[in-house]
Amino acid sequence: MEHAIEINNVSHLFKQHRALDGITFNVAPQSLHGFVGPNGAGKTTTLKLICTLLKPQMGKIRVFDHDVRNNVKAIRRRIGYMPDHFSMYRQMTVFEYLDFFGAAYGFTLKERNRIVGDVLALTDMDGRKDDFIQGLSRGMQQRVSLARVLVNDPDLLLLDEPASGLDPRARIELMEILRELRRMGKTIFISSHILSELAELCDSVTIIDRGKTKYSGPMEGLLDQATETPTYRIRIDLPAEDVETALSQVPGLISVEPLEGRSDMRIKIDPALTDSNQVLAAIIAQGHTVINFGRDQRHLNEAFMDLTERGVRN
């Protein structure tokens, strides 16, 4: 299967600083792929390499089967890149700005009318098309940026921290637009450090730290990536110490740990000696009411912290 993006053992140096150190991952077409890493991990460098603004010094990058070294024009026709900063001609109106990029991509006047109308409708900016970009709020400017990226109807969107600096409402609206774009069959590669948003939005994720790939794969794989001992989360009408007493008869119980600020508890067991049924049965047998019980999925934040911490230790 042709990947939207193939990155194979790519390294990049800025003078003495190694920004990327042999990163490798793939992005499937028509997926929404999250790209996560702490500040300085190499996210923006990777994005610039994919979108042909930088030439890779080592390794291979292919976008829709085109090598970024040799097929710059072909790649640029199929991608839309939104940098991590506002890069707009603020002296133009919204319409002029989009019309300008339409003309720059070589569309005729008739095509431009249709395209600009479409992207304005998609980003819900048609009511503001005659406003100067200068006077728009940050959220609105970000929508105009996104509209600009869509002008050439790209197959792949490369978005560098698109939600950075937006208020919660603008952020939610932006994510809605991204979902809509995925439904339209676009491949979206989004870099962010707002991890909770990516957890809901993305099909797959790559985590990098200090220029190295720490994880790349489906989002479920990261969230389910269990530690060696299975962990369950339970909400029950008892304090934690009483739960521990209640479960003292269960063989293989490792720990009962209350979650700070919540009425939930995390139970760890040895899978060789017991399973979730025995735990649940033991509690119910003692007459307690179980409000909620389930496998403890790791939150993306925890996975991220774990992976990047490990990176630090290494």
Binding site: M88, M92, F101, Q134
Partner: protein, 514 residues
């Protein structure tokens, strides 16, 4: 007081760590020494070589202070405004006095050092003959007073304006006005002498002329100078500079209340917005050309206004210089040709220094270069768009040619018929091309190189390089060798242009990925 010293110390520490400042002072010292050596070689051919040397050095310094000094001081506060750090400094309790003096003093010290480094060398001019140490002292005194005045004016403009470019323009415009207006006023009121208004204007014009360091230097270096170092120019420059500093302090808080975002609306955009006539028309299929025609050139209305301004200026100048009625059209034509060539060079230099830098400061270059076109196509399309800013002067030039076609083509023909003249003209043109390339390169590679700095520094470098190189080459050659030297000069200039041109392209591609 501690905050003032903290700012000064930080600035001086930063300055002392940068190799740039030391290198520049060193280069200046070498240049002075080199000029001294070349003058020594000419000692038997020219009278008073020491005076000639010192006069050239003094005028170089004067122009250096006036042009680059203004821009240097005009960045003092605007750089904080543009970086949006002024508010933070004010929140940290740094008051107007500390900020003004803390930003102004290190600059003044640097400029003072730059002047001082030459003194030991220029004093050697005495041994070459024709100049006395009293004259050298008086000239440096005049230059230091001029520096103080220019520094204060630059700082004032820096506080008043929201951008460095605006501050530079205001400061340079004020100095230019101070030089030109007294001459115009004297010309206009020459016949009104005796009336109250006439005398008042003439006296004021005379005072402004006497404030001028250029005139003061000329007077000091004239034969038989025996006046005090405390000339009217020195005293007036110090007093007016002091008053400007006081006014700057008084208006500081009012002028620095609001921070302005970079890449904001220009005057014509605001006017358009106010009139609600927002249409610039649809974007041309040559989109990049359209963009710079609109954003850099200001569009059709602005270009028309600029044309009217240029034409009006040339007309005013032509009539002011008293052209004869019999050859009115020819004279007007030549005036138009002359001024439009000057403005063409000046406008092209400004345009190229702004063209790519604007994209970088607005962070739009990476977005633009992502279009599916070759980098060369992008860069040259922008250049064509930028060149539309020169349409008014091109129109003036064409009108000039139309007004005096025979004379113009005769003159062109006579130049073309002589190889030496062709080489001379092409050498001159090549120097302009190098200066324009250099200013473009500075503008895209150096943070400090806003267009007034980039353009004037490049012009200065090319001028000094020519003075040095041509001075050396012409020593000891016979007049017949001039063509050979000009030819070699043209070849060298072409190579230099190609190297800078290539590096501009390389830098523009690299900067998109930064």
């Amino acid at each position: 007081m501690n905050k003032f010293f903290a700012l000064v110390r930080r600035a001086l520490q930063t300055e002392s760590r940068l190799a740039r400042g030391h290198g520049f002072r060193c280069l200046l010292g070498i240049f002075v020494l080199w000029t001294l050596v070349t003058t020594r070689w000419e000692v038997f051919n020219r009278g008073a070589p020491g005076l000639n040397l010192f006069r050239s050095m003094s005028y170089y310094n004067y122009f250096f202070i006036t042009i680059l000094g203004t821009a240097y001081f005009a960045t003092a506060i605007t750089e904080e405004k543009e970086e949006r750090t002024l508010g933070l400094l004010k929140m940290a309790g740094v008051g107007a006095t500390s900020l003004i003096m803390g930003k102004w003093t290190p600059r003044m010290i640097s400029a003072f050092l730059l002047l001082s480094v030459q003194i030991p060398f220029t004093v050697l001019a005495i041994t070459l003959g024709g100049v006395l140490w009293q004259q050298i002292g008086a000239v440096y005194f005049a230059l230091f007073a001029h520096l103080f005045f220019v520094g204060s004016l630059g700082l004032f403009c820096s506080v008043l304006m929201s951008t460095t470019t605006g501050a530079c323009l205001l400061a340079l415009g004020s100095l230019l006005g101070m030089s030109i207006l007294p001459l115009i006023a004297t010309g206009l009121f020459r016949n009104a002498s005796g009336s109250l208004l006439g005398d008042m204007v003439l006296n004021l014009a005379s005072f402004f002329r006497s404030m001028h360091a250029f005139q003061s230097i000329g007077f000091t270096l004239s034969t038989g100078f025996n006046s005090s170092w405390w000339s009217i120019q020195v005293i007036s420059n110090l007093i007016v500079g002091g008053i400007i500093l006081a006014v700057t302090w008084a208006i500081f808080d009012i002028c620095t209340r609001n921070e302005k975002e970079a890449g904001g609306l220009g005057y014509f955009d605001r006017l358009r917005k106010r009139l609600q006539s927002k249409g610039r028309g649809r974007v041309w299929s040559a989109a990049l050309v359209w963009k710079d025609y609109q954003l850099l050139g200001g569009g059709g209305i602005f270009l028309f206004l600029k044309f009217a301004l240029y034409f009006g200026f040339v007309l005013f100048f032509a009539l002011g210089t008293g052209i004869s009625r019999s050859r009115m059209l020819e004279n007007l034509g030549w005036t138009l040709i002359g001024w439009s060539l000057f403005f063409f060079v000046f406008e092209t230099a400004i345009m190229t220094a702004r063209l790519y830098r604007n994209e970088m400061s607005n962070k739009t270059w990476a977005t633009l270069i992502m279009l599916p076109r070759s980098s060369k196509e992008m860069i040259y399309s922008k250049l064509i768009g930028g060149m539309t800013t020169t349409l008014p002067v091109v129109a003036c030039f064409c009108i000039g040619v139309v007004l005096t076609p025979d004379d113009f083509f005769d003159a062109l023909g006579s130049i073309m018929s002589e190889a030496e003249a062709v080489l001379g003209v092409s050498y001159f043109v090549m120097q302009i091309v190098i200066a324009i390339h250099l200013s473009t390169y500075f503008s895209i590679s150096q943070k400090w190189a806003i267009w007034p700095m980039a353009v004037f520094l490049s012009g200065f470098i090319v001028f000094i390089a020519n003075v040095t190189v041509m001075g050396c080459l012409f020593i000891g050659i016979s007049p017949g060798d001039a063509s050979a030297i000009l030819f070699m000069g043209n070849v060298a200039a072409l190579i230099i242009t190609i190297v800078i041109h290539y590096n501009i392209g390389k830098r523009l591609i690299a900067v998109a990925g930064e």
